[in-house]
């Protein structure tokens, strides 16, 4: 792009083309982070369930701390890798939601070290994460994530109806409902949006004047 005198049509073309560049589902960054936490949760929950069943030793529950130890560094790595050099308003909102959820989840887990019976941790965690999923879904206006979040909120109360080993198994089920399924749906949506964009670019190559009329 060089310096040259513009006419009004060219100005409109530039504005519409640039705005369009920033509007291609930027906020829907795929489901990578959902899948990371979902599969981590599922694997850790199932590992704990089977280890307790085999050994009868409840100290195995310490393994829950493997989630933040593995999850946070991996998430930071993933976020750095997909850095597009921009921050959108929605991206910042979503990021802040999950920072808040993460801090609350961390403190709730740590308080377990002080008083193990203070609250039903798996219920509280499921509720907290599902609230995060539901808000994120509402912010990005993506129905599968909204449904997963609110379904998860309702199902969190199942945690209060089951006890002991079953709680761990139900929590593994939650990982699938609230993180893994929406994660795969988000990835699929991103893939389809990507191929549609590529197709669209070829089809509408350079035809930006039409979009200009909407500015």
């Amino acid at each position: 792009m060089e310096e040259k005198n513009l006419n009004q049509n060219e100005s409109l073309e530039i504005i519409s083309r640039m705005i369009k560049e920033t509007r291609t589902n930027l906020e829907r960054d795929g489901g990578g982070i959902y899948l990371l936490w979902g599969y981590l949760w599922l694997i850790v929950a199932l590992a704990i369930y089977f280890l307790i069943r085999e050994t009868g030793d409840y100290r195995v529950q310490w393994l829950w701390f493997a989630m933040p130890i593995i999850g946070y560094p991996t998430m930071i790595y993933m976020l750095k890798k997909r850095d597009k050099g921009i921050v959108t308003f929605i991206g910042r909102v979503i990021g802040n939601i999950w920072i808040s959820v993460g801090v609350a989840a961390g403190l709730l887990s740590l308080y377990m070290l002080v008083d193990y019976n203070a609250y039903p941790i798996l219920f509280v965690m499921a509720l907290l994460v599902n609230v995060g999923v539901a808000i994120s879904g509402l912010v990005i206006k993506f129905k599968p994530v909204i449904i997963a979040g609110f379904l998860g909120i309702a199902l969190s109360f199942v945690m209060l109806m089951v006890s002991g080993m079953e709680q761990i198994l139900v929590s593994a089920g939650f990982a699938v409902i609230m993180l893994i399924i929406p994660g795969h749906i988000l990835n699929d949506a991103k893939r389809r949006a990507g191929s549609a964009k590529r197709g669209g670019n070829v089809k509408n190559g350079g035809n930006v004047a039409r979009g200009g009329s909407h500015v």
């Binding site: 100005s11 640039m18 750095k80 921009i86 500015v215």
Partner: protein
């Protein structure tokens, strides 16, 4: 004065003046991008505007001097990173530019 001349003058008076700072291909592209984003780095702006680093630097400097954008130089890991944000003045100027542009159509 001829009737046609009067009509022409009236027509010209209807057109609002376009901000000369934004009425440039690259500066307008940068402001249009930043108007839709919270912030963008230099590499993103260079790629999306298909401009050269030198030219983009000059135009960013002009926009920054006018108070239309904020430029922050920092680091991303070990690599230097320049981040740009539109200011309220810049946003207002862009809105006025689009409003003025409408009078030509």
């Amino acid at each position: 004065m001829l009737k046609t001349e009067v009509m022409l003058l009236e027509e010209v008076a209807m057109f609002k003046e376009l901000d000369p700072l934004l009425h440039s291909q690259l500066r307008l592209a940068v402001i249009s991008l930043l108007a839709s984003l919270e912030e963008a780095d230099f590499v993103y702006l260079r790629e999306k505007t298909s401009s050269t680093a030198g030219n983009l630097s000059v135009q960013l400097e002009k926009l920054s001097e006018a108070g239309y954008i904020e430029v922050e130089k920092g680091y991303s890991g070990k690599r230097p990173r320049t981040t740009c944000r539109i200011t309220e003045t810049g946003r207002k100027a862009f809105e006025d530019y689009v409003e003025a542009l409408k009078s030509y159509f």
